[in-house]
Point group: C3
Chain length 214, copies 3
């Protein structure tokens, strides 16, 4: 019972930070007040709705549980009020997106595992939950989707989801496991942004200008 609450907390914090990421992106595009709230909600709940539909958890929690709606709306309103402060961050959209990525990869994988009892479904839907909202945000705002950029993004989500599912599957899960898996994903994502880490592009027979490592 107690562990159940942990994943809900992860999910609600993830909803909150993804909503900030969506609201900032909408504000940058100068959408109206309602547009900012809609974008915050879509980015925050889009990935989870796709996950819930795929595991048959209908109606999706993002639509039926008022706490998700409230979390997204509070985040949108805070963003609007505190926009001058938020704007001072270097890459506010990507920063909040990175934190949501780790939280959703772990909570999404855990929920899918609880419904499907299938490790592959759990890992894939953990990744989908984590990258779904940001991809929707970028497609709707006609930005280049983060998953298409040569960043460590979906791969960080995959690592976080895989750690969570592996620890559950091997029955070595501890109370701090979900937090550790989240931290690994968020840390990997933020470090890769900070230090311009990339995955190799397998360019054939030509030295690429974008140096890549790991």
């Amino acid at each position: 019972v107690n562990s159940h609450i942990v994943y809900e907390v992860l999910d609600l914090i993830g909803t909150f930070v993804f909503a900030i990421s969506g609201a900032v992106a909408a504000k940058q595009r100068n959408l109206d007040l309602f547009g900012v709230v809609v974008m915050a909600f879509v980015v925050a709940c889009g990935g989870g709705i796709v996950r819930d539909v795929c595991i048959g958890a209908v109606p999706p929690a993002g639509l039926s549980d008022w706490r998700y709606l409230v979390a997204a709306m509070v985040a949108a309103l805070i963003t609007i009020v505190a926009y001058p402060q938020v704007k001072r961050l270097r890459h506010p959209v990507l920063f909040f997106d990175a934190i949501g990525l780790g939280l959703f990869a772990v909570s999404g994988a855990q929920k899918a595992l609880a419904y499907s009892h299938n490790a592959e479904v759990a890992i894939l839907l953990g990744v989908a939950t984590a990258v779904g909202g940001g991809t929707l945000r970028d497609v709707l705002l006609a930005r280049v989707p983060v998953i298409l950029q040569k960043d460590i993004y979906a791969s960080a989500a995959l690592l976080g989801a895989a750690i969570q599912v592996a620890c559950e599957g091997l029955r070595v899960s501890q109370p701090w496991t979900p937090w550790a898996a989240t931290l690994v994903c968020v840390g990997l994502r933020l470090f890769s942004l900070r230090f311009h880490w990339h995955l190799p592009t397998f360019a054939t027979r030509k030295a690429e200008k974008a140096g890549s490592n790991r």
Copy 2:
């Protein structure tokens, strides 16, 4: 039983007018005959299919009920035949879209309410049904999605869906309630288009050139 028919009628008229909106947009882009029919069907049934998947009503009515397919195809054929007449309207895509918006907001909310018995799900899916088709149309045709423009669009759908769900929830629903809710939404949308009403953008410390009211 009788009231059930009302919502089916709303839904089928909505399908018809959204299909016209999609077919006109496809015709403007000079798609071939089949492309016009496909676009009409996607715009007309896309929002409803998303709603049905989210409430577990599978297979979605838009796919399993032949009347939706027929309504979309008849609308597409009429559009192709009467295109010179349709073109004379000022904004044919937005005009038919506005009527569909109100019809789908109400019928979509009612169907979601009947399945989920949850007012939040009903209102959110009413909005999703109403704005889903138009958003799909604009994304597929690489137009700027209506929901991103500073128009009263999703907010009009929200009002229509909320009136319908509130009247049902408070058990004050009359036979004319769905029609009134539809009329409020369509009227608000058309007036906002006609008189350039906008929601405030909360521009910080700078007078915006686009004056906004309401």
Copy 3:
């Protein structure tokens, strides 16, 4: 029992060739190794996941059956290794897409028919399975979606799915029926690409420069 295996084989070959199509498109855009694998998987399994969600077959086979993941990953790796050879083909993305189109139209229609017992659902979801992956690929990579071009694409999938469903419905299905339906769809698609066949655009009162026939 035996016929069941046929549709699984069709589905897995379709997954494999669609994955090649997605991987080549991702490689052309110079995505990193992980991006190529993700794109291969999304293109290969996206249409089938939409179909499975619409018929209530959750979790979708593309997520729960490891063979789909393996087929997509093997295709992605082969594409990366053999990219110099693949590149020599005239239109590698469209060529593998055409083969997948026919395979998925037939296997998708058959699976939807088995679940819904509704010919309309089966045909529409056969088409959706066939065109879904390619449309996702083009939207994500910001290419003009194939279904929007004046090509015989969705119409070829419709023909393949309709032949399959008609033969099943009329109980005249033979062991070679699915292969024949696939061949008709793939052949029509490839011939239309080779000889620039188009559907009429119903241009009103003006001779179009793009001559169209059939």
